[in-house]
Amino acid sequence: MLSRVADALYWMARYSERTQTNAHILQVQLLNMLEQSGQEHDYIDHWEAVLNICASKEEYLANYTAIRVNPLIDYLLFSEKNGNALHVTLRAIRENARVTRDSIPAELWEIQNTFYLTKQQAILTMDRPIPLIDLQAFLQEVRKTLWMVTGLIESTMDRDLPFYFMQIGQWLERAEKTIRMTLIILEQQKMTRLSLNEIDGTFLLELSAAKESFLQKYRQTNLLSVIRYLLQDEHYPCSVMFCLKKMEEAITAIEHDPLSPRFLTLHSTIKSFVLAIDHIDFWSMNVEEAIIIMEERLSQWIAFSETFSTIYHLYEPSVQP
């Protein structure tokens, strides 16, 4: 497979995953905001966390003077200045699909193309600020379309190189997001004197879409158990551990030879990451120590995705937002 095509497929999957998660996070926060009091400063902390998870506060503040809800929503959804704005990542998915359309199922391209041409163009032409109900409907549409895409990939694509490169992109992006989310929620608690099992972890559970699955297994929603679940649970599909297992499968499928230098490099990195995640003992940590650990894991993770790109001669994202 051409490196350029592998690269575009990998990024298409990453953007697809990113868009899905960001749409969910925005939906959660838009709903949360309704329940909190009418005072903006009551929920601005949450918006700040959302901003840091979905984009970057520094970049935002380079363009705006203060964090206020309407401009922030606009920034996260539509701004061309934000490389991770939903509109921009959706376009990147479609463009990457367009350059790889001879390697993906025709229906996959058609779903993405239709969505882009209809729903996405339609919301751009709406008067601002867009009513909450329309925003929610759009976000739901985004997620539904991407579920359909994921299902289509899963059920129709040959288990061949294009499929596995998309898999790698998806799991890499997902685990990175989980680590980032955890880190940012911890950073918000930096000033607290409480221990991890005294802090409420509901917001993190909601952001990571893990609430339903978590509550079926645990009753306590303290931050300690939530973080352990998101990092170490082997069955929850957004946990870092789960993503690592899936990536191991994909690497094994891409490299038929378990003795090839490429396989050995990637496989040993994955294995050591599994150990590193498994061995974190959050019980004995305070918030600050947990932050340091998560910062380390995040930079390790980013280094790992760079190693992957180098090994397979991937380009810079061929279609950057």
């Binding site: 490196s3 095509v5 592998a6 463009e95 001879d102 397979y312 001669h313």
Partner: protein
């Protein structure tokens, strides 16, 4: 349902007076059953289908979004088998002769020495490529895919309007038009037996893989790719379609690299050698070392690998010398010279403007003529005398005086028309037909081709970049057409 128009002004593909021609009768009957609303709904479905599939072309410099679907018209052009047989033989003959010409012009140049073609017409031609002189191309074939544009005059006689031997585009539309026709208008197909397009891609692949580079060892299977300029190119869909159906990789210049005079593509496992490049970028952009330095689309040193015989490039480099509008006038002579045959399909009369006598006559009769720039395409830099304003005429007279060798003149042909259904009504539109010829060790003609239609009423310009659309083209299987009681015939509406 169809409101008749005056079909006597031009040759009409479908009507004789107010009656459909025999080969259109059955179609006409089917069409008349639909209400206007049904036809409009079907029209919307067809356009939506093209858009959903991203079967679009890019309009350079357009303001309102750059991706457009080519307007599709549901009234097909139907060609009886006997007529098609003539067209098929005619375009094959033409491509054979043009290929001989390209072999000759880059080798002995016998045709020039024997005085049939002026030397300066070849040597001053911007597409004449010195790098091709003496180069032996695989299976001595310069033309893998040709698009021959045909028109019909007021008597219904076919003429060749243009040869496209560089990168003729639009072949994907032939297939997609048929697909959308089957999807949206299945009713039209009943009671017709038409030549299917199914096997054509297999022929094309066979022809493609026949171009083994001279240095390739017997036991190796050739590896072919399609070189595209990328997704912002106006014909990107065409490239995707061909790569998919020929089952070859779609590559961009940056995916290829030349090492030791061999061409490789960059894969995830490292470099892999390739043997045949079906390129869809122009000569100028192929190799920034040999041609335009500023080309970002090409592959440095590609021409050196080509000259070393390590890679085949299709269509061959330098084909433009044979298909420009000035050389066009000499194609009948080429047919006589190389094949010792009379041309089956005639040319449109062409005046050369560097000839003083011809130029004087043309300037006097400019209102009756079409003036074309010899190196332009896509309907650009063209004057249609009968429709032009005083200002345009003055401008073209000036251009001709300044660069006489750059222009040719042709009589305005009363292009044939066919009915089109657009914006809720039927009206007559001018049409032409691009026939695709595929040449490897054998020569194949795609049955039908791309019928292009000038959808602006009265317009003569069929190019998609200027408001043209497309129609499906049916070649009837004559012998079955009138065999009413054939029991093997399956009819789509369930009746036999």
């Amino acid at each position: 349902m169809m409101n008749l128009y005056d079909s006597s002004l031009f040759f009409d593909e479908m009507f004789d007076g107010n009656q459909p021609k025999p080969h259109y009768r059955s179609f006409h009957h089917k069409l008349s059953i639909f209400s206007q609303e049904q036809l409009e709904e079907k029209y919307r479905q067809a356009q939506a289908s093209f858009l959903r599939q991203g079967i679009t072309f890019t309009v350079y410099g357009a303001q309102d979004g750059t991706e457009r679907t080519m307007p599709f018209d549901c009234v097909p052009i139907i060609i009886p088998q006997s007529q098609w047989a003539i067209i098929e033989a005619g375009v094959k003959q033409r491509v054979e002769a043009l290929n001989f010409f390209l072999q000759d012009v880059y080798d002995q140049q016998r045709i020039i020495r024997d005085g049939h073609i002026p030397r300066q017409l070849v040597e001053n031609n911007p597409y004449f490529s010195l790098t091709m002189l003496g180069l032996k191309v695989p299976i001595a074939n310069h033309i893998f895919l040709a698009g021959i544009d045909l028109i019909r005059d007021e008597n219904g006689d076919y003429f060749v309007l243009e040869d496209n031997l560089r990168n003729p585009s639009g072949i994907s539309y032939v297939f997609e038009n048929r697909d959308v026709m089957k999807e949206v208008y299945p009713e039209f197909f009943s009671k017709h037996t038409i030549v299917s397009l199914d096997k054509q891609m297999a022929n094309m692949k066979k022809a493609l893989l026949a171009h083994r580079p001279s240095t390739m060892t017997e036991e190796r299977e050739p590896k072919a790719v399609l070189l595209t300029a990328g997704m912002y190119n106006s014909a990107y869909y065409d490239h995707v379609f061909l790569a998919q159906h020929l089952t070859i990789q779609l590559v961009e210049g940056r995916d290829l690299v030349v090492q030791d005079l061999k061409v490789y593509m960059k894969t995830i496992y490292g470099l892999q050698q390739i043997d045949i490049i079906y390129r869809r970028i122009d000569d100028d952009f192929l190799d920034p070392v040999a041609f335009r330095e500023d080309s970002l689309l090409g592959v440095p040193h590609l021409m050196e690998a080509y000259q070393a015989g390590n890679v085949a490039i299709l269509n061959a480099v330098g084909n433009g010398v044979a298909d420009d509008k000035a050389m066009y006038a000499y194609v009948p002579d080429m047919i006589r010279y190389y094949l010792q045959e009379e041309p089956i399909l005639p040319n449109v009369k062409t005046y050369h403007l560097k000839d003083d006598q011809q130029r004087a006559w043309v300037l006097e009769h400019i209102r009756e003529l079409v003036i074309k720039n010899v190196s332009a395409s896509g309907g650009y830099d063209m004057l249609i005398g009968p429709h032009a304003s005083e200002k345009e005429i003055a401008l073209f007279k000036e251009k001709i005086m300044k660069h006489p060798y750059q222009y040719i003149a042709q009589p305005t042909i009363k292009l044939s028309r066919a009915p089109a259904f657009q914006n809720g009504r039927f009206y007559p539109c001018h049409v032409d037909l691009r026939v695709y010829v595929i040449k490897g060790e054998d020569c194949y003609v795609l049955p039908g081709g791309l019928s292009r239609v000038a959808l602006q009423e009265g317009s003569l310009v069929v190019n998609s970049s200027q408001g043209g659309g497309a129609k499906d083209t049916w070649i009837l299987k004559e012998e079955l057409q009138h065999a009413e009681s054939s029991s093997r015939r399956v009819i789509l509406d369930g009746k036999v």
